[in-house]
Amino acid sequence: MAEHNSIWEALGFRKASGVGEAGWGRTLFVAIVSLIYFLPVLFIIFTAFKPQDAALSVPPTLSPTSFFGLIPDKYVFTPTIENFGSVFNRSMTSGGAPESTGFDRYFFNSIVIASSSVLLALVIGTLAAFGFSRYPLKGNDTYLFIILTTRMLPAIVVIIPVILMFRVVGLSGSYTGIILLYTAFNLAFTIWMMKSFFDELSLDVEDAARIDGSSDMKVFFKIALPQVVAGLAATFVFGLILTWNEFLFALLLSGPDTRTVPVAMNQAVSSGGRGTDWTLLAAIETLFLIPVFLVTFFLQNHLLRGVTFGTVKR
């Protein structure tokens, strides 16, 4: 019996010291699975480093290095960073001189629009979630459900009234307009998530604080909010990922100056009078991945501690 147990330990799949921990064997196993899962992304990233003419080569080139002869030469490509330059500067006419593609602007727009709308939604949504959680209205669940339904319809259905409304109030093509729209777009998710977090908190602490003379405002900021920091981080990341890649509203409501990367990315899908420019598309996507990847990575611990709430309540 003892030996049987030790095999798994020797392989590092289990650790005797403590339930819920594992060793390097587990790491190896998970690394293999994770890498396989990551392969399609890795391929996109590698494509960003390929010379244009290697993008569609048959057999597909898979690696920038042969790993000391481990990978046959036909699968190896010579990496280049030219594509990343092309994202920002390339010839936009046949044989013309390289010119700015505007992507610096688009990246800036994406960052400004996504981060400010997600933050705004977080502020407004957290307030609302606290309201829904602590001061339930008659028919509270119905209101929450109505808020959820705003996520249910395909965007194309509501787009015409929104465009017209933007036109009427002069928000077309402005940052304000698209940020407000994204804020609304994120609110449903934010409110549902944050309400779940507030519901999980113990009311005793807040009541105690009130007895000690704290105002409701202070209770919210000093007592409730610090306890849901993890939830805020999680909601921020989820919201960011969804907003970052939003396409349809961005296409229809942003002007040339407020265009975001997902819209402009289609430059590479139909590029310069041909189909997909694979290496350019890959380079754009790779660059576009970096900010959201970093944010997720650094908030990852919060994500894990953050998204813990009880059951779906209705």
Binding site: M1, A2, N5, K15, A16, S17, G18, V19
Partner: protein, 362 residues
């Protein structure tokens, strides 16, 4: 044979040594309390016995079998957790029957066992409730019920009563002791509450900084503490530990200068081995008699704080050299703040500790 033995067990977390060379043997039917201040390694020791932690070195022997490498499932033990670890999604009854699933009992047998245990632990009324719907005392009883429903090699309790109020704690102590007596298994209880240990244990193991300082019956650890730590840890109010200069030893008496006063106290002959040196003299607060005259062999002090404790009164007194002395006197002995006291220690209850802190005894 239900026994537990650990031999030279050491546990290291990185560079931190949580438990060092612990030796302990628990016989069948014996209840051993692991007692010590928080962070002393007592819970780690228990978890090593349970198999929740792996010992860095040493042997864990349960029922005569070395079990270091075995997972908890294979050690056949029962354990009551500090926070009870009740399965939140199961009813009280299902919680109790949980350990029985691995026994392959028939449904009827299993139910009968659950009913029997529920009766013992007074849980029959709440069998169908969820753990979050029962009282704190019931949760505690449920945790114990789950442990005793099976016939394991041994029982382990981790701070079983720490979450109960004083009254409940008192009655639970009795109940647990009663149940354990009937089962005659080796049992280890971890606690930081000496009253719990003194009342429930057949023997007490006192730990400090990962080391088992003393193992003995409640009486032994109280009457014959092996060192300053045990002496100060066991007994309330705490034993007075006073620095003194040992002058000489003769005629069964030690001459010391204590709090600036010269005393001659009857002492264990072993004290004679000590050279004239600094010693620590331990005197329990109840081991003083107050005398009127300021004749020889008394300590002069002035009452500073009077704490009535019901049947007795605790007096904090200050010696002429500025040291604190706690004295317990009967209730009828009226002492006023500022009153001068002459304290005569009971020589039979006076302990001498050498410079290394160890008790000096034959």
């Amino acid at each position: 044979m239900s026994t537990i033995e650990i031999r030279k067990v050491t546990k290291q977390f990185g560079s931190f040594t949580a438990v060092k060379d612990a030796d302990l043997k628990v016989e069948a039917g014996e209840v051993v309390c692991l007692l010590g201040p928080s962070g002393c390694g007592k819970t780690t020791t228990l978890r090593m016995i349970a198999g929740l932690e792996r010992a860095t070195s040493g042997d864990v022997i349960i029922a005569g079998q070395r079990m270091n490498e075995l997972s908890p499932q294979k050690r056949d033990i029962a354990m009551v957790f500090q926070f009870y670890a009740l399965y939140p999604a199961l009813t009280v009854g299902q919680n109790i029957s949980m350990p029985l699933h691995s026994e392959g009992l028939s449904k009827a047998d299993s139910d009968a066992r659950v009913m029997k245990v529920a009766q013992i632990m007074h849980l029959t009324e709440v069998l169908d409730r969820m753990p979050n719907q029962i009282s704190e005392g019931e949760k505690q009883r449920l945790a114990v019920a789950r442990a005793i429903v099976r016939d394991p090699n041994c029982f382990l309790f981790d701070e079983p009563l720490s979450r109960l109020d004083v009254e409940l704690r008192h009655s639970m102590r009795g109940q647990i002791k009663e149940v354990l007596t009937g089962l005659s298994k080796a049992t280890v209880i971890v606690t930081h509450d000496q009253l719990e240990a003194l009342t429930m244990a057949s023997r007490i193991a006192i730990m400090k900084d990962g080391v088992i300082e003393q193992v003995g019956t409640p009486h032994e650890v109280f009457a014959k503490p092996v060192n300053v730590f045990v002496a100060s840890f066991i007994g309330t109010p705490q034993m007075n530990l006073v620095e003194a200069d040992l002058q000489s030893f003769g005629d069964g008496k030690a001459s010391v200068i204590l709090a600036g006063q010269s005393l001659s106290i009857a002492a264990d002959p072993a004290v004679s081995r000590l050279k004239p040196s600094k010693v620590t003299v331990g005197i329990r607060p109840r081991a003083f008699s107050t005398v009127q005259d300021k004749g020889g062999d008394t300590i002069a002090a002035q009452a500073e704080l009077i704490e009535p404790m019901g049947a007795e009164t605790l007096i904090h007194a200050r010696t002429s050299s500025g040291g604190d002395i706690r004295v317990v006197v009967p209730r009828d002995k009226r002492v006023k703040v500022g009153e001068a006291l002459h304290l005569k220690p009971d020589p039979r209850q006076t302990h001498f500790f050498g410079e290394d802190g160890k008790a000096v005894r034959a």
